[in-house]
């Protein structure tokens, strides 16, 4: 089903932020903001929740920590204890100090890569994905607010455009997207 979308373009991040604040106060739902760099403070205005990727990083790190511990206990204590000058080689705890560097490295390895992969998958930013920004200038110096008519059935498109025009935008565009 085709859907009508309004794109309002700004040339300053602060003007966009003030405009978005006014629109949201009037009850307009802003579905997306496209910008060349992060606009600090825009997320709570347009109702974007903070990402939970940090929690995921912690869980991946924990997985790495466990895997490294289990692995080294198996390799060095259970499967093939090495005789190094007759030192105790039958307990993990007695040998743990030597395993700390790799445990640490492996924890960081899993946390960093796990989080990075999750980030790319959640964003759907992967090799070969098509660009979805409405205007090529939004990766340079322009900022765009996207408003979907279906999400704003309280207003007609003319009313929305009228409100947008008061916010200091530089270009207004209507498109139909699938």
């Amino acid at each position: 089903m085709a859907e009508k979308v309004i794109y309002a373009m700004y040339d300053d991040d602060d003007v966009l932020k003030d405009g978005a604040k006014k629109l949201v106060a009037k009850g307009v739902k802003i579905s997306e903001v496209f910008s060349p760099f992060p606009i600090h403070g825009i997320d709570p205005i347009i109702g974007i929740k903070n990402t939970r990727l940090g929690i995921m990083a912690f869980l991946y790190g924990l997985t790495g920590l466990l895997l490294a511990t289990i692995g080294m206990r198996f390799f060095m204590v259970v499967d093939w204890p090495m005789n190094i000058g007759g030192k105790p080689n039958f307990s993990y705890l007695d040998n743990m100090l030597a395993f700390i560097p790799i445990t640490f490295e492996f924890t960081v390895l899993c946390a960093a890569h796990g989080m990075a992969i999750t980030y790319l998958l959640r964003n759907k930013t992967l090799p070969g994905m098509p660009a979805q920004n409405p205007d090529p200038r939004t990766t340079d110096d322009k900022f765009v607010i996207e408003i979907r008519l279906s999400e704003n059935d309280k207003f007609t498109s003319d009313e929305l455009e009228g409100m947008l025009k008061e916010t200091g935008l530089i270009e207004l565009d209507q498109k139909e997207i699938k």
Partner: protein, 469 residues
Amino acid sequence: MHKEAAIREPLILGHKTYHDITEDVCRPIEDKAPRMWYILFGIALIIGLYGVGCILYLLGTGIGVWGLNKTIGWAWDITNFVWWVGIGHAGTLISAVLLLFRQKWRMAINRSAEAMTIFAVFMAGLFPLIHMGRLWVGYWTLPLPNQFGSLWVNFNSPLLWDVFAISTYLSVSLVFWYIGLIPDFATIRDRAKKPVAKKMYSILSFGWSGRAKHWNRFELVSLVLAGLATPLVFSVHSIVSFDFATSVIPGWHTTIFPPYFVAGAVFSGFAMVQTLMLIMRKAMGLEAYIHTKHVEYMNIVIMVTGSIVGTAYITELFISWYSGVEYESYAFINRATGPYWWAYWSMMTCNVISPQLMWFRKLRRSLLFTFIISIVVNIGMWFERYVIIVTSIHRDYIPGAWSMHYPSHIDLGVYVGTIGLFFVFFLLFARYFPVLALNEVKTILKSSGESYKNAPDHHDHSEESHSNH
């Protein structure tokens, strides 16, 4: 928006707009490469290929072609390895540690410093691999099930810790660097006119569109990666130092090694960043973004870490006497007065004296002086590793086994070759990649850009700031 004191020097000079930043960074990529680029690339490529030839000869013949002998089993190979890993410390320090400390000046240099880091770690990783002689069994360093028993790798050995440390450091730095590159590739993609370039940059940019939610995730991922990479920076060179510190060789088994190696690594890494950055800013017209203030900040880091290194040298010397262990004392007296005295005193001059000159404001703000010192520091840091490694082992316990190390032309070829390959990678990077984190730089334009800082609308104290200047 975050306000900044008016007396703080602006980080972006001139009257730049967001679009100017895009233009300034993307133009060198879109224009034809200057003739100088081809000349430098050609020279680097020839040297690099010569190095590859030497490596192939080494692999085909055996590591006997190096100047090693029964007494000196480690020399240039490990010296070069530690030297390159050390150089590879600045990038992640700049992008991770300085991100955690919210240092805005990092944004102008982090991209190229990280690229430098990654290429330096590539070069470093090459040395242990070719030192195996049989490169094709390199996978034996990994704990893989095998038909020997199954006999595992020795998790008690610092050499194995190093395998994990270097590969984790390399891959995490690479991911950190690439995640920052994605939005900048998108900028180039959206500007590209030639179809091939458009296609390439759209693959590289992973379809980045700059949605608000994506930026929210981007900022958190950068922060968490910085938090993860920070202890990594310190752990990698600590573990490299364990390769020596856990042995029982006088001159090597020193508890001071980990902090001393980390400081030395940051010291040499920043020197390499200075060398590259001073040329790059000029060649690519980025003087407005990387200027005297950035150079001064980096020189202060060089001064501080250089002083830590100097203190460590003197502490080591003192402890070798104070310990009362005659082998230990001899190792150090031999370093300073033995047949390798020239290496020791080159190291002392380059690493202890030269950073102290940075106390003078005039000198640390002089670009020419900085350039010279940055090269002197890296020569000094190479000698440091050579002194630690070779002078500690060349006089064995039995005088009959005493020996000297003379590098062969293959030693030299492999070392110079890695410098060539490093520059091949760096020049390709400078040609095709955004050398400045251009979208991140835009976030500091309003708080640290010259035209915004001094504009009355944006600043309460603009009057005072004008009279101060």
